[in-house]
Amino acid sequence: MKPITILNSEQFALTIKRLCFQLIENHENFEESVIVGLQPRGVLLADRLAQSLREILKSPTISCGHLDITFYRDDFRRKEKPLEASPTNMNFTVEDKRVILVDDVLFTGRTIRSGLEALVDFGRPRSVELLVLIDRRFKRQIPVQADYVGRWVDSIAAQRVGVEWAESEGKDRVIMHTTDEQ
């Protein structure tokens, strides 16, 4: 089946911009706030948000880290192969900071659970919020909800939501594939 486009490039840019302004509403100048993107795909969104926020606020000091959650996952030894890790790059602690956890797609919620566990190894944050570009609602296996959402998507398990980036795939867009085997 042909993939369905959920966000094209223009809608994608608009959504990022809207999410930035929603963040500014709550975090003002980001003095007490840090953005933490989850590896491997959430970091692209986190970097994009941080870059847009720096431009909008004309403040070059917004902190943005990359957090890898591989060693905190709950499916270790439940897969055929070892879970492959990505680099963690957190050159700040989150002690008493307002953390905005960022991922591209919220699906079962298990990644976010692992992310929360990994996050406290870098300090005790004052608060943690969750921002996602796509929320595949009704598919949660763990009680996790996002505070900021780019787009809600209703999907069935056989469908896959792909977030593509100009940096890695050549074009900003979000598409939904339906896999044939069911």
């Binding site: 060693f71 905190y72 192969k81 879970l83 680099p87 406290v120 870098f122 300090g123």
Partner: protein, 312 residues
């Protein structure tokens, strides 16, 4: 996604270059973990590991134990000096007794070459060889090569000189296998009584002259003179003083070279014998980096092997 082909780490000889690279890449992540404010991840929280040391060890045992704890594994320790081995129990009986307590992995050091391999064919548990007699010490070779990679960028194409007691050294044998698999060139240097006859079969050249060897190499790995394996004093060379004069590394010898080389030592150092203090503590030395990298490498090995343990 990548995985190890081996189920146990018995020696470097069994590993493919891609498996060594996978261990290095995994160790990169663990190196970041052990430099965090909280240096611990929960990956192995349902794994129990037994450290069986039938031979004395301080740093290897400490390094393994630390690696296991940083991965949240449960750890039990055993050393032969305080055990029933002295009452005549066999290796298999000792180990089966320990495994009856539901152990998932065994880290073992043993004075007999091949002990880890023997165990791997007879018990249903993952084995990591932490040194078997004069045979292999795979995690030491991995951390040595990893430290060279960290210091110089890549192991391939580097010239490595291993100096000292090659005959009794499991570190030397594992290092030779590991460095050659990664594309480095290896020469050994030491008194002819301490160079094994099989060294030619490993494609390793012998350099009897330390100065020539140092001028050739990028990295010099100064092995410890193993006084405990020399059997009845210094049977392999006339005196320690003579050994130091011929094969000891000191600042003067290092300064005479027209280039900078990296100095390694697997520890424990006999200061003033194979290496002087001013060299061991100089900027050229990566001895303490080796120790730090040892924890990261052992975490990577344990993590990759544990991921292959089937769930009950």
């Amino acid at each position: 996604m990548k995985t190890l082909r081996v189920n146990h780490l018995l020696g470097i000889k069994d590993l493919q270059p891609e498996e060594i690279q996978l261990i290095f890449e995994t160790a990169d992540h663990f190196k970041e973990v052990i430099n965090r404010p909280i240096k611990k991840v929960p990956s192995l929280r349902d794994i129990t590991i037994a450290n069986l040391f039938f031979e004395n060890s301080t740093r290897t045992k400490l390094s393994f134990e630390l690696a296991e704890k940083r991965l949240s594994a449960d750890v039990v320790n055993f050393s032969s000096s305080s055990s029933s081995v002295n009452k005549g129990e066999t290796l298999i009986d000792t180990v089966n007794n320990i495994l009856a307590m539901k152990i998932d992995m065994v880290v073992m050091r043993h004075p007999n070459p091949g002990a880890a391999h023997f165990l791997s064919t007879r018990v249903n548990s993952r084995i990591v060889n932490a040194g078997d007699g004069t045979h292999e010490h795979p995690t030491q070779a991995l951390l040595d090569a990893y430290s060279i990679r960290e210091k110089t960028g890549d192991v391939a194409g580097k010239k490595v000189l291993i100096v000292g007691d090659i005959l009794h050294s499991r570190v030397a044998l594992s290092n030779i296998y590991c460095l050659q698999k990664l594309g480095a060139e290896v020469k050994v240097c030491g008194p002819s009584t301490l160079i094994p006859k099989y060294i030619k079969a490993l494609n390793v050249e012998v350099e009897p002259d330390l100065i020539k060897g140092l001028n050739w190499c990028d990295v010099a790995n100064m092995l410890r003179i193993q006084l405990e394996r020399q059997g009845g004093g210094h049977a392999y060379f006339p005196s320690l003083r003579e050994y130091t004069m011929m094969y000891g590394l000191n600042k003067e010898r290092l300064d005479r070279l027209n280039k900078e080389i990296t100095i390694m030592h697997p520890g424990p150092i006999n200061r003033g014998v194979e290496i002087t203090s001013d060299v061991a503590d100089s900027d050229h030395s990566i001895i303490l980096n080796q120790v730090e990298n040892g924890v990261a490498i052992r975490m990577a090995v344990l993590y990759l092997l544990a991921s292959k343990i089937e769930r009950p």
